[in-house]
Structure formats: C-alpha cells, structure tokens
Symmetry: C2
Subunit: 226 residues, 2 copies
C-alpha cells in the first residue's frame, strides 16, 4: 500500500488524494507537520514540502507538478489530461492558475492565518489570525469565483467537456476554504453547481470526513445540499 505524507487542510495534498481516489488507489495516510522540519521527513523530501508519495517499491515522489504528472503517467486509467497536446497545455494552465495564483492570492494566506497558526508556537509565529490578511484573501476569492462562473457559461468542466486535473486542483483549493467556512457559494450559482458535482464523487468522501483537532468544519462543509 503506497504511503502519502500529507496535511488535511492542504490544497496540494487534497489534489493528490482526489487523483489517487479517482484512480482507485487508497494510500496509507500520515499527517506531517511540515513546518516542524522532522529529520526523517526531510530525508524523504529535502524541499520539506507536502505531499510526498512513497510507493511500495520505495520510489519517493514529491513536488506538486512532479507528483500529478507521475500519477497520470503511472496510473493512466482514468486519465485526467486529454490526448491533444494543446488541450493538455490548457488543462495544465488552469491547474497552474489555481496551484500558484489562487494559492498566493487566496488559499495560502487564509489557511496559514486560520489553520496553520493554531498549531505553531507563539515564538514560531503562531497565534490568532491577522484579520487584514484574511479580509484581503476574502476579497480576492470573488474574482476567482467569477472566473469559475465564466468558464461554466460554455463548458461542463473547467477545461472543456471533460473532467480534468484542472477541476481537481480547483476543487481541492475550494474544499480547504470551505472547511474554514470562507466560500460565498450562494452568490455564485454556476460555480456552486460545478462544485456540487465534484463534491458528489466518491473520491471526495474521505476529504469531507477529515477533522482538524479543535476545529470542526461548518455544518454545510460535508453536505451535498448546502
């Protein structure tokens, strides 16, 4: 059974768990507080980042870009990159948009302020959230929800008529923000419809069962009818 070192409220980790689930692979999950820089973990991934996948044969795969490409290459059924080279580039562009731009403008600051800081010592920068940072991120999320609504005007899924890596990356980010109650879904109908379709998939179930100690999710978090 492959091992996945992860954190529950991490968009990159959730993306990889969704892809593994969709491909029928159930890894053993190990929570890793990456910021504690545990030596054995740094030996697995000197960059100190999550997620890290360790295969049964000892192969270690880390880094978001390398890991999602690895899963597509190693476990191609079902595939979440299309066949056409230009379409693959478009799927990756949207995946990259969420994994870097949305991350920088919305999910990294929100998750850091509202989740990560709870588990850090005051000396290491832990404590209550910086509300000005939270407000800026909550302002930014609206542009990205508009973007999802815009894509849904002519498409079934983010990159076209097929479910792709782009959908899983975006949904992984939104699901983390949903855990802390920060997505104004009801003002963005087409984006909500898209998210409901993803949330209904079996692979989403284990994510929705995650609980961060001392921080229960809002009631609508695991509901399909929210």
């Amino acid at each position: 059974m492959p091992q996945l070192f992860h954190l529950p409220v991490s968009p990159a980790c959730r993306t990889v768990r969704l892809l593994l689930g969709e491909k029928g692979i159930e890894p053993a999950l190990f929570e890793e507080r990456a910021w504690e820089r545990r030596e054995d973990f740094l030996r697995l991934n000197p960059a100190g980042e999550l997620p890290v996948l360790v295969e049964d044969d000892g192969t270690v795969v880390s880094g978001f870009w390398p890991l999602v490409e690895y899963l597509e290459e190693k476990y191609p059924n079902p595939a979440f990159l299309p066949q056409d080279v230009a379409e693959r580039a478009e799927v990756r562009r949207l995946a990259d948009w969420f994994s870097r731009k949305f991350a920088a403008e919305v999910s990294e600051p929100l998750i850091y302020e509202k989740v990560t800081k709870r588990f850090m010592t005051v000396a290491a920068g832990g404590g209550g959230p910086e509300m000005s940072v939270v407000r800026t991120a909550l302002h930014n999320i609206r542009y990205h929800l508009d973007f999802v609504c815009y894509q849904m005007e002519e498409r079934t899924w983010l990159a076209g008529d097929y479910l792709s890596l782009a959908d899983f990356v975006a949904a992984a980010h939104f699901s983390c923000l949903d855990y802390v109650g920060d997505v104004p879904w009801n003002q963005y109908g087409p984006a909500k419809d898209w998210y409901v379709r993803l949330k209904s998939r079996p692979a989403f179930r284990t994510l929705l069962a995650d609980h961060v100690p001392g921080m229960p999710p809002p009631r609508a978090y695991a509901d399909l009818d929210f």
Copy 2:
C-alpha cells in the same frame, strides 16, 4: 515562425529559449515588460506572466510547467525527460527545485533588486537595490552551489547520466545571476565544470548575446573560459 514573449533576464524565459534552441526551433522574440500589464498581453495570458509562446496556428501556451511539458510533447526530439516514469519524476523534482525554491531564495530577489527595479518608476517601487535583500540571496546561493557540486560527485548531469530538463532550468537561473555578476563559480569547481559544459552548447549562444540596455554584463559572462 512561433512567437515568444519574454524578458532577457528571466530564468523561466531562458529555460524555454534553451529548450526551443535544443529542439531546433528559432522563435521570433518579443520583449514584454510584464509588470506594465499591457492589455493585449493580458489577453494572451490573463495571469500576466512570462514566457508566452504563440504557435503559427494560433495556439497560445503559457505558464512555466504547462510550457515545458508542451515542448516535450510537441517536439519530442531530442527529449529532455527520460522514458522511465520514476526517473521523469526525479527530473521534474529537480526542475521544480530550481523553478520554485532556488527562485524564491536566490534568483527572484536578486533579479528584482538588480534588474527589474531599474525599469520601474519610483512610484511603482523602482530605484536602487535593497542591499539587505541582495546579501541574503548571495548567502543562499552557496547552499545551492553546494547542492550542484554534491550531485556532480556521482553524476554527469543533474539528474543522472543524461542531459535533462533539470539541467536547463538550473542553468537558466544561474545564467541570469551570471549576467549581474553574482555567481562565485571559482569556489565551486564541480558546479563550474557542469555550467561550462552547458554554456558551450549552441543553444546557449543567443542567451549570451543578450544585452540589457544600460546594463552590460561582466566580461566573464559570455566567456567559456572564466
């Protein structure tokens, strides 16, 4: 002829130019001051980042990860990702190391302080370099040069016995820092030997001919014997 929107002292742009050159494709180059957020450019790439490739058939490819994967898929000869799935993940891990970790710790701050700020108005944050930022980046570069030397103890190229994407990403970063005279090559013999081998390749030539207006490179920049 494909068009490449780029900046001369940008590691991501240089990586793509090196890959195109190695694959025998000579794009028309257009310098784009991405920070000016020109409307026609934002229509090409809403993320506002460089490089952006426009193919003869109108296909637009942007984003570093999507673009390097696109080049490997569209122009597979010569290939800079190996065949084996686990080895491909290792090449991508090293490429990702330089394109994110090295970028954050060394090349982005150095290039921003020493090059980009020259072309920005004072109101937009332009001006002379912040020397404390420069000093930190110059401190950090040593760990990465040690890492290259360490890899060279048992390998011919960064990821193994074959020239790969990882070498081009790393060399593109170092060549930008070389332009501003910031790589202490002579204290890192094995890294220097590796870089000389890359610098000798024909695809490197056009990079070494680049000149930033008002900012000539140091004399050793284009020399193979430095």
